[in-house]
Amino acid sequence: MWTKYFKIVKIRRGRVVTPSHGEIDFSRDDISIEICKELFEDDFPYLEITEEGKRELYGIEPPTDLVEPAPENVHIETVEPKDPPPNRKKYAKKKKP
């Protein structure tokens, strides 16, 4: 099901007219994952990829915490992950001219 890999953001789950696939009812569970992936890569504003989607569709593993567990009563600053979140354009398929 597409909802494992993507989630709807900024709107309620429902109908949206898309430029490439016409009207899609995102309240349905049977939307093709390929269509969702294509929309996501075309910067469709209402789809966000899940961690499972990153892993399954793009082979991106979630960042692992390399910091060893801190001993008790010792304050340690938060370490930001080095890699930024995946960029849609970076993973987008090249379009035919």
Binding site: K10, R12, R13, G14, V16, T18, P19, P45, Y46
Partner: protein, 184 residues
């Protein structure tokens, strides 16, 4: 001007060039729009000079709506206006909606003096956005009349014309949200 001219050949993908618009137009209140697609800034190509970038999104709790129109009654028309060195365009949307049900009467009551936005889809699927952050689409009248008609064979319903004044004509390539926006 940094734009470069190129040859403009006959370009009809798959030989398609059907006229008219689809049987739905999309509308909303101008004030309910949260973000507008951006117009070209210093475009380098002719195509970029006619392309809007990004999506029209709505404020929380708001959405766009669809309006059914009778086939072959809808028309999107671009009128050139203005004096020399002051040319611009007026985009016209005309359509006929069948019947005199309360919904369409209520829509016309609400729309006649309001600032609106329309998205029109032509027979090839190309979309035109009537409205921008500065200017709305507004009601102009009923070019084919409103009412019952005279004969029993007449077509009862509402016609309407909306216009939008714009410096340039663009194609909209974004989505149309028919579901309420959320605050997040």
């Amino acid at each position: 001007m940094s734009i470069e001219f190129t040859d403009i050949n006959k370009n009809l993908p798959n030989g398609e060039n059907m006229g008219g618009i689809t049987q739905k137009v999309y509308f909303g209140f101008h004030a309910d729009v949260a973000t507008w697609p951006t117009k070209p800034v210093n475009p380098l190509t002719l195509e970029a000079n006619a392309t809007l970038t990004g999506d029209l999104t709505m404020k929380a709790g708001k959405r766009m709506f669809e309006l059914y129109i009778t086939d072959d009654t809808g028309e999107f028309n671009i009128e050139s206006v203005g004096e020399v060195d002051g040319k611009s365009f007026v985009q016209h949307l005309n359509f006929f909606h069948p019947g005199l049900q309360k919904k369409i009467l209520g829509f016309m009551n609400a729309a006649k003096n309001e600032n609106l936005v329309f998205i029109v889809v032509d027979a090839e699927g190309q979309m035109y956005l009537m409205g921008d952050s500065m200017r709305p689409a507004t009601y102009q009248g009923a070019p084919d009349g409103n009412g019952t008609g005279k004969e029993t064979a007449a077509r009862k319903g509402m016609s309407a014309e909306f216009t939008y004044k714009t410096a340039n004509n663009h194609v909209y390539g974004g989505s149309i949200p028919l579901t309420e926006a959320t605050s997040a």
